[in-house]
């Protein structure tokens, strides 16, 4: 078996890769039914949450490449916590990483446990009496680059479940704040998570949802389908254990002949309009500062005026910056 005579270097590389995949496959864990919702398993669809409790094996298994990424994530989590502990010893203020992989449970209103989970570690800085919960995530670089605040984590559908995971721990332990440690190339990013009113409400909604899910799983019933084709498209149970009806949004049909005529005119004059705009911009750029001049048949007059602008330090600017999801509207019109 060890005879590699006749194999090219490419064959050898392929053989190593294949064995790597087989090795990861051997470590694959099979999902088994469980009675409580995992803290990291917040989903928009309650039906999906019930199916994850009752028939988790009805999801397509993760491809081996995903297993490799999970392994890498676990390795990074361990390495980051070790580094953090080392750095903390000589830091000012000093900090300590402790209580790693601490298990927690959240009870519902009926008294039964509905959410369970583990927190990666606790971080005690300076003379803090107890450590603040710390959750390590090794998400994709593209995702991490877009995260500055906890709201960024919450608003992204791919990271929302991770956001709930730490919130659940803060809520359960009644901790006022915690940290998300995000791995990236360079110094990891530490995002503060506060259990403020908004996050408290988010967590109560998650808890209420988990209660309904646990009750449905116990009684063998399934909640209604979610009315969101995009969510169904992403769901691992779609087509295996769940076959919902699909209702696409559909486009609007605007039936105003005047609007159609305006659009035709807009299209017909578009190129001329663009050419004029480019010329206008170019001329204004070239003639900036010319106060009085003639050019051929043209008289040119310009004057300086006061322009008031507000220059704020970046941290203050950020403090007063709000993200309005409907603040910008981009329109694309195309004649087909």
């Amino acid at each position: 078996m060890n005879d590699t005579t006749g194999l090219t270097p490419y064959d050898l590389a392929r053989a190593v890769e294949q064995n790597w995949g087989a090795w990861l496959e051997r470590d694959r864990r099979v999902a088994t039914p469980h009675p409580q919702v995992w803290a990291s398993a917040y989903r928009e669809c309650e039906r999906r949450m019930v199916l994850e409790l009752t028939v988790p094996d009805q999801q397509l298994p993760f491809p081996v490449q995903a297993l490799a990424r999970f392994r890498r994530g676990n390795d990074r989590e361990r390495d980051l916590l070790v580094d953090m502990a080392r750095i903390g010893r000589d830091a000012d203020p000093t900090f300590v990483v402790h209580s790693q992989q601490e298990r927690f449970e959240l009870k519902g209103r009926t008294g039964g446990v509905v959410i369970t989970g583990k927190v990666d570690a606790r971080l005690r800085v300076g003379n803090m009496k107890t450590g603040a919960p710390l959750e390590v995530k090794a998400w994709s670089q593209n995702i991490v680059d877009r995260i500055d605040t906890f709201d960024d984590v919450y608003e992204n559908m791919w990271t929302r479940s991770g956001a709930h995971q730490l919130l659940a721990y803060l809520y359960g332990a009644n901790e006022p704040f915690g940290f998300l440690l995000l791995d990236r190339s360079g110094i990891p990013k530490l995002v503060v998570v506060e259990l403020n009113d908004t996050n408290h409400e988010r967590m109560e909604a998650f808890l209420a949802r988990a209660e309904r899910v646990v009750a449905a799983a116990a009684s063998g019933t399934l909640p209604d389908y979610i009315d969101d084709p995009a969510e169904c498209k992403r769901c691992a149970f779609y087509g295996t254990a769940c076959n919902p009806p699909i209702a696409s949004v559909g486009q609007d049909v605007l039936v105003d002949p005047e609007l159609e005529a305006d659009l035709e005119r807009w299209w017909a004059t578009r190129d001329a309009g663009r050419a004029w705009r480019d010329l206008d911009e170019g001329l204004k750029k070239r003639l900036r500062g010319v106060e009085s001049a003639v050019a051929g048949h043209f008289a040119i007059a310009g004057r300086w005026g006061t322009y008031k602008r507000l220059e704020l330090p970046p941290d203050i600017k950020k403090q007063y910056t709000i993200a309005d999801p409907k603040g910008r509207f981009t329109l694309e019109i195309e004649r087909l």
Binding site: L60, Y238, V253, V255, L336
Partner: protein
């Protein structure tokens, strides 16, 4: 259902839209009687409805990507395109395709241990109000996408693909994207970087290797001559002749695949002659280009 009319930038509620305008909306079912009642506006309404459907169809095709399409070529050389399940998913929102009354997937075992799943559902389009009933989707465990799967994974894979195929079949049927002429794809992609040559080439495009761009063994590597009679489906380009290898005492030649269509005008090009001419002209072109380049270099260096 919302019928909208923009008046000074406002969206008017459905009930305030005049009937002759409301009927322009394809989402409003219109009977012949209703159209006839509109008298002189009837034709205009019909045209408006057709325009909405045509624009929507073109918009849907424009949203797809070349790998979403499988191309099939028949013996006549006519190429038609078939939108894949993945492509259907991309354009479903344009026609507002709904899939409902979905049955549970039904497993059908074949004698050899392989199996297939079958699933049925109804569908409708919000845009056209068209309804299709008892549509079927099915996939088999012997298909290519299952090659490395086994056990429970195979079962889940086939079931998932069955649902995707069912959704795709309904969307294709409602959108008429099962047999799309190649010219329609080309027109819809005009002004974009999408190229029909990047579509998946299926039956009628030669062996698996040829579909990926390889040439047939023994076929000369020069561009083939073209038929003076036959043209591509859009009528713009002449069709290339096909190479036929030497057989017995007959030498190799290029002939028209559709020779039966023009029996009066036989098209026959001797392969050896053609190849020799092509190679000679290629050498000539190469030599003349080289000479020109030499002259330019020499001129720049002041040696001429």
């Amino acid at each position: 259902m919302t019928n909208r009319l923009t008046l000074d930038g406002e969206i008017a509620p459905a009930e305030s839209v005049p009937a002759d305008l409301a009927l322009r909306d394809t989402r409003v079912p219109a009977t012949l009687d209703q159209l006839a009642a509109q008298k002189e506006h009837a034709l205009e309404i019909l045209e408006a409805r057709i325009t909405v459907l045509e624009t929507s169809r073109r918009r849907a095709i424009r949203m797809t990507h070349p790998p979403d399409w499988n191309l099939y070529k028949d013996r006549e050389g006519v190429v038609i395109a078939y939108l894949s399940d993945g492509g259907c998913e991309r354009v479903r929102d344009i026609l507002g395709v709904e899939v409902y009354d979905v049955s549970a997937p039904e497993k059908m075992a074949n004698g050899d241990g392989s199996f297939m799943y079958l699933q049925r559902a109804n569908g409708r389009s919000k845009l056209t109000t068209q309804v299709v009933e008892a549509m079927e989707g099915g996939r088999s465990s012997t298909e290519d996408f299952c090659r490395d799967a086994k056990g429970a994974q195979l079962e889940l894979l086939v079931r998932k693909a069955t649902r995707a195929n069912l959704d795709g079949n309904i969307a294709r049927e409602l959108m008429g994207l099962r047999n799309v002429p190649l010219t329609e794809l080309q027109e819809a992609w005009q002004g974009t970087s999408k190229d029909w040559n990047q579509c998946r080439k299926a039956r009628g495009f030669g062996s698996a290797e040829e579909r990926l761009g390889a040439t047939r063994e023994g076929v000369p590597d020069v561009p083939p001559p073209t038929c003076p009679v036959c043209k591509t489906p859009d009528g713009k380009l002449p069709l290339p002749l096909e190479y036929r290898g030497a057989k017995g005492t007959r030498g190799a030649f290029y002939g028209c695949r559709f020779y039966a269509k023009h029996p009066q005008q036989k098209v026959f090009v001797d392969a050896a002659d053609w190849v020799a001419k092509q190679r000679a002209s290629a050498v000539k072109t190469f030599e003349s280009e080289n000479a020109q380049l030499d002259a330019e270099i020499a001129a720049r260096e002041g040696q001429s």
